[in-house]
Amino acid sequence: MILISNATKLYDNGVKGIDNVSLTIQSGEFVFIVGSTGSGKSTLIRLLLKEVDLTSGQIKIGRDNLSDLTRHQMPYFRRRIGVVFQDFRLLTNKTVYENVAFAMRVVEAPNRDIRRSVPVVLAQVGLQKKAKSYPSQLSGGEQQRAALARAIVNRPPLILADEPTGNLDPGTAWDIMGLLEDINDRGTTVVVATHAKELVDEMQKRVITLKNGAVIRDLAKGGYYDED
């Protein structure tokens, strides 16, 4: 599903965000990316989204070789990935329902499908009662649920999450991780960059540890290691 070979990202200021990383992530995997601050987790996520371009090496997602994607192909590439951020990034002038529906409008889904799918997805994340609320009227956890609903409504094969629980209290963080696990159980590949030590330890998923932009550990079923 995801094939990263000798990927290096050198920022304009000379900092290596990612340094010669090679990784394979199979379809249907649940992967944590961990590492101390500045280790390159966000850089890796941004590279996978093609928000920034590689300096050298190669990244392939499915059949797409990221460096070959043209500007015109970008929207269609992004539609095959659901993204979740620490700061939710909901459209503040739209209700929860409209935010989720928006992702379907973008792919020009018929209104009929939108009306059918949005409530189903909102129910899946437990937000059916908040459909008419605006993001500012929601708690952080609810906003992140809405963002998750938006990420999955078009059923993308891959979900990328950059510190999805970073702004949430531990209990709510568990809920969100639980939802991500549900989504993964239904067959979606999930990649989560996180600092949430307890969650990582508890969930026993594949854990990839970065340090100074390089992979220093890759465990099939592991926990979060602070040392090193």
Partner: protein, 302 residues
């Protein structure tokens, strides 16, 4: 493009217009002000052009006749002049000795007794004719010379006026084109800056749209429609006011200066506005769309 998408674009455009109502009002006022100045300049330019055209046409070519010509020969010449292409047949006027003297006295405001003792044929007989546009005058004059009619003493062409009118006319055309082009550029610039202020706040929104896979056109369409609406409303307002003013100015001129109307004709409200309405609407729409789209362009590159 799906109907549901079109409906979505239009509703987004309206929502944005209302959400940023201050910007909307500012943008509409900007377009209105510029298009109003433009409409006024165009009304003036069209009328000045029209007045000059009337003056050009009223400038006659004069053919002076020698006294040797008898009545038959004068008649013959009259017909041949009427047959010349571009000469307006009904504009050819015969001026007899007496009429010439009468006119002279009138124009000099002179005492008729001054002319006592001068022969009746003191001033020559002539034909006056109109050649339509200035452009045709030379052709007509060549033709007149080509008649080689014995007894044609001299052909008067009022060259000094012709030259002056041509210069004024060209000058006014150049100035109005420059003024109008300048106004269009200025209004696009103001619009771009007005809309930029709110697009800045919509920057995160555009970024989010890109994350969920919106194409550039999907993001652009609501902006285009928004710009179009701003432009059309911004055009309708000055059209309404300039139409009102033009009608009233014409009415005032007619009521108070009857003589003005006898000398010159003004373009009718219909003539002016059958040009001004489509022109202003198209310009308004264009300015609105260009302004809206340029102001958001750079945020599309995410």
């Amino acid at each position: 493009m799906r109907i549901s998408s079109v409906r979505y674009y239009v509703s987004e455009a309206f929502k944005n217009l209302f959400r940023n109502h201050l910007m909307t009002v500012a943008a509409i006022l900007t377009v209105s002000a510029c298009l109003f100045i433009l409409a006024v300049s165009l009304c003036l330019a069209l009328n000045i052009d029209y007045l000059l055209e009337q003056m050009e046409q009223s400038l006659s070519v004069v053919v002076y006749l020698s006294d040797e010509l008898d009545a038959d020969q004068v008649n013959e010449l009259y017909k041949r002049i009427q047959d010349i292409p571009y000469v307006k047949a009904d504009s050819v006027k015969y001026i007899s000795h007496e009429m010439a003297i009468e006119r002279f006295i009138e124009s000099m405001d002179a005492d008729p007794s001054l002319l006592d003792g001068l022969p009746d044929n003191f001033l020559p007989r002539s034909f006056e004719l109109e050649a339509g546009d200035l452009a045709y005058r030379d052709v007509v004059i060549e033709e007149l010379k080509g008649l080689a009619f014995r007894g044609v003493e001299k052909i008067g062409n009022q060259e000094q006026y012709v030259g002056l009118l041509t210069t004024i006319n060209n000058g006014i055309r150049v100035v109005s084109v420059i003024v109008i082009a300048g106004l269009i550029v200025l209004s696009v610039l103001i619009i771009v800056n007005t809309i930029k202020i709110t697009v800045n706040s919509r920057r995160t929104e555009i970024t989010i749209m890109k994350y969920v896979g919106a194409t550039d056109w999907f993001i652009r369409w609501p902006f285009i429609i928004e710009g179009l609406l701003i432009g059309l409303i911004g055009a309708a307002v000055p059209l309404f006011f300039s139409w009102l003013s033009y009608r009233n100015v014409l009415a005032v001129l007619r009521d108070n200066f009857i003589s003005v109307e006898e000398l010159f004709d003004f373009k009718t409200t219909f003539e002016i506005f059958s040009l001004l309405i489509p022109l202003t609407l198209i310009l308004g729409a264009g300015i609105g769309i260009i302004g809206s789209v340029t102001s958001m362009r750079k945020y599309l590159r995410v």
